[in-house]
Subunit: 111 residues, 2 copies
Amino acid sequence: MNKNIKKDICVLDFAFQRIGGKYKGRILWALSKHTVMRYGELSREISDISTKMLTQTLRELEMDNLIHREMYPQVPPKVEYSLTKTGKELIPFIKYLVDWGYKKMAEENEN
Amino acid sequence: MNKNIKKDICVLDFAFQRIGGKYKGRILWALSKHTVMRYGELSREISDISTKMLTQTLRELEMDNLIHREMYPQVPPKVEYSLTKTGKELIPFIKYLVDWGYKKMAEENEN
DNA sequence: CAGCATCCTCACAGATACTG
DNA sequence: CAGTATCTGTGAGGATGCTG
């Protein structure tokens, strides 16, 4: 009984580690809209992200198998990012949040 | 086109501010399981949370109208917390994450 | 173009002690 | 019981400059 909730909370942590942080949701959402994006495109789309945070976050998402990184060995370099199957599983969840956010922001502006 | 994504991302931020952080998801989830909980119950359920973080997080959730705080003026004090209508709207979302987390953790253990 | 390397800051969070 | 008050610290994130 209690154990189940503690287990749930542990699992919730596991999940939040994968989509939490300042940029993970944004990146996944942008990729879901554009299907495939280059590093520079992401950099422009996710405004005000530093290269450090963009690279770091992309690496984490790749480690967690949420995005795929395709590198083309050419000069100048070209790298494309896209959602993996697992990454796509998180889109409905983000969509839920976006829809909820729009609704709540609208409600707050009524008052 | 681009504007819509930027707007989405702004909204995503709005939403993440409300359910992000280390304890908000846990507290909402615990409240959804127990319906009504006292301060001490939450403290025991959310293991290793300090009184400072528990109080602070509860206040934030209350400010955002996700939980309701009912105080009984008696000695010793009794305070009960429960989800508001808006708070309940976030439960399907958290459930999605919990389910996804269980699935992914199981998959990772297979390898 | 797609990063890497450094240095730095501050907000989130932890620890501890106390109270109406 | 349900908090408040205070001090401390760690790491996520920011700023800047450089490179194959």
